[in-house]
C-alpha cells in the first residue's frame, strides 16, 4: 500500500488536499541588481556603477547606468529596485528645483544628503527599496561621500560600496584606501588617477564573482571643473 500510511495510526485517513482559503501574496518589490561605489579624495569625488539591469536570472538591459547627476557638484548612485530608483531620483530633482527657486542657490552635497534622509524616512513603513550613495564636493571643495540605508540612516564616509557586490568590494577598499589590516605601509594620500584605476580594477574583480554585476562600468569624476564620465567594458556573461 502507499508507504505514507504505514507511519500513521491504523484506521485514520489523513486529508492530503488542503481545501480551505489560501492567501496569495503579491510582493511590491523586486531586486534588479547592480553595484554602486563612491570614493572621496582631497579635491575630487568619484561615483561609479555598473550598467546591468537584471531580474532573477535574466537581463533586462546591458546599458542602464545607476549614477544620476543631481547638480554640478553632486552625483547620486542608486541600486536595488529600479522602479523605486527612478521615482526617488525624480523626487530629488523636483525638490532641488523647489529649493533653487525659493532660496536662489543650488543645494550643497551635505544639504542634499540631509534632505534625502528625511525623504527616505517619510516612507519608513513602506520603504523605497534603494541603496543610495551620494558623492560630491562640499562647501570647502573637498570630496564628500554620504552613504544611506533604505530608510534614511546616513553618515559621511571616505569610501563606500553599495548594492549586490558591496560585500565583495568594501573589504578591498578598506584595505587599499583605508590601509586597514596592514603594517609598515606608508599612508600615501589618494591621487585621482590612482583612485580611478582602483575603482576600475575593483569592478573587474566584482564582475568575475557576482552574477548581477557586469556589462559595463560608468565612472563619474567630480572636480571643481565639472563632472566627467568614462565608460569601461566589463564581462557580459
Amino acid at each position: 500500500m502507499l508507504s505514507s500510511h504505514t507511519f500513521e495510526d491504523p484506521g485514520k485517513m489523513r486529508d492530503y488536499h488542503y481545501t480551505g482559503p489560501v492567501e496569495h501574496r503579491f510582493s511590491p518589490y523586486s531586486f534588479n541588481g547592480g553595484t554602486v561605489l563612491a570614493v572621496a579624495g582631497e579635491d575630487f569625488a568619484i561615483v561609479a556603477s555598473d550598467t546591468r539591469l537584471s531580474e532573477g536570472y535574466s537581463i533586462h538591459s546591458r546599458d542602464s547606468p545607476k549614477c544620476y547627476k543631481l547638480t554640478d557638484t553632486t552625483v547620486i548612485g542608486c541600486s536595488g529596485f529600479h522602479g523605486d530608483c527612478l521615482t526617488l531620483t525624480k523626487i530629488i530633482d523636483a525638490r532641488l528645483k523647489m529649493y533653487k527657486h525659493s532660496n536662489n542657490k543650488t543645494m550643497t552635497s551635505g544639504a542634499i544628503a540631509a534632505m534625502l534622509s528625511t525623504i527616505l524616512y517619510g516612507r519608513r513603513f513602506f520603504p523605497y527599496y534603494v541603496y543610495n550613495i551620494i558623492g560630491g564636493l562640499d562647501e570647502q571643495g573637498k570630496g564628500a561621500v554620504y552613504s544611506f540605508d533604505p530608510v534614511g540612516s546616513y553618515q559621511r564616509d571616505t569610501y563606500k560600496a553599495g548594492g549586490s557586490a558591496s560585500a565583495m568590494l568594501q573589504p578591498l577598499l578598506d584595505n587599499q584606501i583605508g590601509f586597514k589590516n596592514m603594517e609598515g605601509v606608508q599612508h600615501v594620500p589618494l591621487t585621482q588617477e590612482k583612485a580611478v584605476q582602483l575603482v576600475k580594477d575593483v569592478f573587474i574583480s566584482a564582475a568575475e564573482r557576482d552574477v548581477y554585476t557586469g556589462d559595463a562600468l560608468r565612472v563619474c569624476i567630480i572636480t571643481k571643473e565639472g563632472i566627467s564620465e568614462q565608460t569601461v567594458p566589463l564581462r557580459k556573461d
Binding site: 536570472y57 587599499q176 603594517e183 580594477d201 573587474i204 574583480s205 564573482r209 552574477v211
Partner: protein
C-alpha cells in the same frame, strides 16, 4: 551473491534514518539554517549527428548569486561510450553519475559486454523516481552503443525523454532557440560542434547562472573526444595594477612554538614489486 544487490530495489517507502541526525545538526548552525547546497545554474545541450552524439556545457557553478567555481566540469564520465551532462544541485549530479558509473562498470565486468545507453537511463530513472524529486539532478545522457546513437534526458522526478537534440538548466530556453533554428538530421561533425557551441554561448550571454568557458564532448563509434575547454571565455581578467603585499605586512600578535618530541624506534624497508 554480492553483485546481485546492484539491481535489487531497496525496501518500499522513504528512508528516514537520517532525520534525527539532521535535526541535531540544524541546531549547530547559526540561525538554525543548514547551509544551502550549491546549484549549478547551467546551460547544457546535446545533439545527435550522423556518426554519434555531441554534448556541451558551460563551466560556471553558482551559490545563489556568487560564482563559486569558474571552471567546474559538468560533463561526467559514465562508461567509455556514455557521457552525462548534469544541471541542478552540484552534489546530486556528481554523486548520481558516480553511482551510475560504478554500477555499469560492475555490469560490464560481470557480463563482458559494453553497457547500453538505455540501461543507464533505466537505472537513473528508477533511482530518481524512488527519491521523489529530493535528488535535484537534471541530466542529459548521450552515448553510442551497438544499437545506435542515443540522446536521453532524465528529470529529477524520474521522467525520461528520448530526443535528437535538447538543452537543460537555467539557460535552456536561450540554448533551445539556437538548437530549434539550426538543427538538421544527420549533420556532419563540425556542423554539430558549431551548433552546440552557439547554443551554449547563447545560454552564457542571456543567463546569469551560466558563464565562463564552454566544454564539448564528442562520442562516436571510434571513441570519445572530451575537449575541455572547447572555447575559452573572451573576457580575460584585465586589471592594470598588481596588488602584492610585502612579507611582514600582516601584523604578528603572538608566537608560540611547540616542539614535537620524536624518537626513531625502528626502521624497516619493504621493496615494492614493480615487475
Amino acid at each position: 551473491m554480492a553483485l546481485s544487490n546492484v539491481f535489487e530495489t531497496p525496501a518500499a517507502g522513504f528512508n528516514f534514518d537520517n532525520t534525527s541526525r539532521n535535526a541535531a545538526l540544524e541546531g549547530l548552525f547559526d540561525g538554525g539554517q543548514t547551509p544551502k547546497p550549491m546549484k549549478t545554474g547551467t546551460t547544457i545541450a546535446g545533439v545527435v549527428f550522423k556518426d554519434g552524439v555531441v554534448l556541451g556545457a558551460d563551466t560556471r557553478a553558482t551559490s545563489s548569486e556568487v560564482v563559486a567555481d569558474k571552471m567546474c566540469a559538468k560533463i561526467h564520465y559514465i562508461a567509455p561510450n556514455i557521457y552525462c551532462c548534469g544541471a541542478g544541485t552540484a552534489a546530486d549530479t556528481e554523486k548520481t553519475t558516480d553511482i551510475l558509473s560504478s554500477n555499469l562498470t560492475i555490469f560490464s565486468l560481470n557480463s563482458g559486454r559494453n553497457p547500453r545507453v538505455i540501461m543507464a537511463v533505466s537505472i537513473l530513472q528508477d533511482m530518481l523516481y524512488r527519491y521523489r524529486g529530493q535528488i535535484g539532478a537534471n541530466l542529459i545522457l548521450g552515448g553510442v552503443d551497438c544499437t545506435g546513437n542515443h540522446l536521453y534526458t532524465v528529470g529529477p522526478y524520474g521522467s525520461v525523454n528520448k530526443v535528437p537534440y535538447l538543452s537543460m538548466g537555467s539557460g535552456d530556453l536561450a540554448a533551445l532557440g539556437i538548437l530549434e533554428d539550426g538543427f538538421k538530421h544527420d549533420m556532419e561533425l563540425e556542423e554539430a560542434k558549431e551548433l552546440v557551441r552557439l547554443a551554449i554561448h547563447a545560454g552564457i550571454m542571456s543567463d546569469l547562472g551560466s558563464g565562463n568557458n564552454i566544454d564539448i564532448c564528442v562520442i562516436t563509434r571510434q571513441g570519445v573526444d572530451y575537449i575541455r575547454p572547447y572555447q575559452v571565455s573572451e573576457y580575460k581578467d584585465n586589471r592594470k595594477t598588481k596588488y602584492k603585499y610585502r612579507p611582514g605586512t600582516t601584523p604578528v600578535l603572538t608566537e608560540k612554538v611547540v616542539r614535537l618530541k620524536l624518537e626513531v624506534v625502528q626502521e624497516s624497508m619493504q621493496r615494492m614489486d614493480t615487475a
